[in-house]
């Protein structure tokens, strides 16, 4: 099974559009495909496929819970918390701010009284949808207010890989979030190839160079997908392609038909653009 990613650094360049078009093209070629939406903060692949998500299963993460009866107000938990998620005033029990908590566990490890317990709480949901005979979609959604979404991506991807093996998928396509931080890194880990989807503008080239730098550090082979290829100035993309020694292997022209198909959830109409 091949594991490929659709990524891009910048938002709105067409990562999900490419991931879905590529999925549909592989289906036409008779392949069995699993598409995994790892943009857990804002997942959209189901909308592009014109399907609804049902029967989500919770994804749990450990968070701290204070047992005030055991607490001796020593303040050690607040001292070790690198996220500044524990507020403590001398002589008082600490206050834990879950918005800032990454769930690392430093507080419950350091507490000499065992007054901070780890509590499993839902941090998001996972949806597994069989769209057609040979197409599965796995979607992760983070709970709003959860700041550290990397561990959710990790869990969603792990389960997608398990399912892909179970169903004997030929290809698993991972659609990442924009940006270059932990949620994207988790999605790109162990991929055989990454498609960097970008657009021919200074914004596209600037952000594509950042993700290409990350992919170089991670040692993931990459290719560039140029979306809206004829709307802008392609030379800026050719420059970064040369700098990172990657090829522009796919060009998607600017197309009003594609925009309409996108907003109607009917991208299968425009697979030939790929």
């Amino acid at each position: 099974m091949r594991l490929v990613a659709s990524t891009g650094g910048k938002g709105g360049t067409g990562k999900s559009t490419f991931a879905v078009l590529y999925t549909l093209r592989l289906l036409r070629e008779g392949k069995k495909v699993l598409l995994c939406d790892c943009d857990v903060e804002c997942p959209n692949d189901h909308l592009l496929l014109g399907t609804n998500l049902h029967d989500g299963k919770p994804i749990y993460q450990n968070f701290p819970r204070l047992n005030a009866e055991k607490c001796i107000s020593c303040g050690l938990c607040s001292e070790v918390c690198k996220e500044n998620a524990i507020f403590w005033v001398k002589g008082k029990p600490p206050i834990i701010f879950e918005d800032l908590c990454s769930g690392c566990g430093a507080c419950w490890i350091v507490c000499p009284q065992g007054a901070i317990e780890k509590e499993k709480k839902p941090a998001g949901e996972i949806f597994k949808t069989r769209i057609s005979e040979n197409l599965w979609l796995v979607t992760g959604i983070s709970k709003p207010g959860i700041s550290e979404t990397g561990p959710i991506v990790k869990e969603v991807k792990k389960r997608a890989i398990e399912l892909a093996r179970d169903i004997g998928a030929d290809v698993l396509i991972v659609d990442t979030a924009p940006g270059t931080h932990c949620n994207v890194i988790q999605a790109l880990l162990e991929c055989d190839k990454a498609y960097v989807v970008t657009e021919p503008t200074p914004l596209g080239s600037h952000d594509a160079s950042l993700i290409l730098e990350l992919l170089r550090i991670m040692d993931v082979p990459s290719e560039i997908v140029l979306n809206k290829a004829d709307a802008g100035d392609e030379s800026v993309i050719r420059n970064i392609a040369e700098r990172y020694d990657v090829q522009v292997t796919v060009r998607i022209p600017y197309s009003e038909e594609l925009i309409r198909a996108y907003s109607e959830g009917k991208l299968d109409r425009v697979v030939d653009l790929l």
Partner: protein, 285 residues
């Protein structure tokens, strides 16, 4: 007054609008513009900025290192790491720096003090006095590093030291840590969307964050004429929160290719942006 521009979905027009609002506010009051999209900072490009007056490396993150000579291979670090950053290779444990969040749990559980946690330079903060008469403070996370939320906190602190009446913050896409760090302590949020089911769905996601932090907000529909019927739906849904709509115009793409702010171009969207600004100004002063 802190005004954040956010959207959930990427590419809806946040930086374009944030750059325009900075220019318009700066005609009346003292402005500082903040690029809080430290993963992929683009606000500078929309203001024609390609170099900075001052660039300061910062360290808001740490990484663990295991001394293989001291390590006894007990595996406690491996069992306790919440981020899967400790890998077992043969009988050795090593830290994958790409996944390490620097929380220090491995050091705390190591019985033989084989783990050190050291600060790393994970990004930079850059300042530019733009030719439009106001400063831009921009952050950049180094690819492969962690701690983007904390870079946003640092750059906001830096921007706060500059005398200003209005701070315009351009947030990242998504709803995770860098976005939460951008939305907290803001007085008003401008939520930019476009007429697609994806952008509308993501608008609902960012709204949960904005409501969670009790920030007042308004909605702008960008490229509204790409799908007028979805635009109508969003406008109806927004009710009195609706701030205005901006047309799709290829001239906007030409502006960014020429690294020229939209407001100094010939685009027909100029008047639409000014009307959005007027509404925001009335609501925030």
């Amino acid at each position: 007054m802190n005004i954040v521009v956010a959207s959930g979905k990427g590419g809806t027009g946040k930086s374009m609008l944030a750059s325009s609002l900075s220019l318009l506010f700066s005609k009346k009051v003292k402005v500082v513009a903040c690029d809080c999209d430290v993963d992929a900072p683009n606000l500078g490009l929309w203001l024609g900025v390609t170099s900075y007056d001052a660039v300061k490396p910062i360290s808001t993150s740490e990484k663990a290192e295991i001394d293989s000579e001291k390590c006894i291979g007990c595996g406690r670090c491996f069992e306790n790491c919440s981020f899967g950053a400790i890998e077992k290779i043969d009988s050795n444990f090593i830290v994958n720096p790409l996944l390490c969040e620097g929380c220090g749990v491995c050091r705390m559980v190591c019985p033989v003090e084989a783990v050190k946690v050291k600060p790393v330079t994970n990004g930079e903060i850059r300042i530019k006095e733009t030719k439009w008469g106001f400063p831009l403070v921009s952050g950049q996370l180094k690819p492969g590093e962690t701690g983007s939320g904390r870079i946003v906190q640092e750059l906001r602190k830096r921007a706060n030291r500059i005398d200003h009446d209005v701070m315009i913050l351009d947030a990242a896409a998504g709803i995770g840590c860098p976005v939460i760090a951008s939305v907290t302590n803001c007085d008003y949020a401008v939520l930019v969307t476009e007429p697609t089911p994806s952008a509308f769905s993501d608008l609902g996601r960012i709204l949960e964050i904005v409501n969670h932090f009790k920030v007042s907000y308004g909605v702008v529909v960008n490229k509204w004429d790409v799908n007028p019927s979805i635009s109508e739906k969003i406008i109806k849904w927004s009710g009195e929160r609706f701030l205005g709509r901006i047309s799709y115009d290829r001239e906007v793409v030409n502006s960014i290719v020429a690294l020229r702010p939209v407001l100094v171009s010939k685009s027909k969207v100029k008047d639409e942006i000014i009307s959005v600004y007027e509404k925001i100004r009335k609501l925030t002063t």
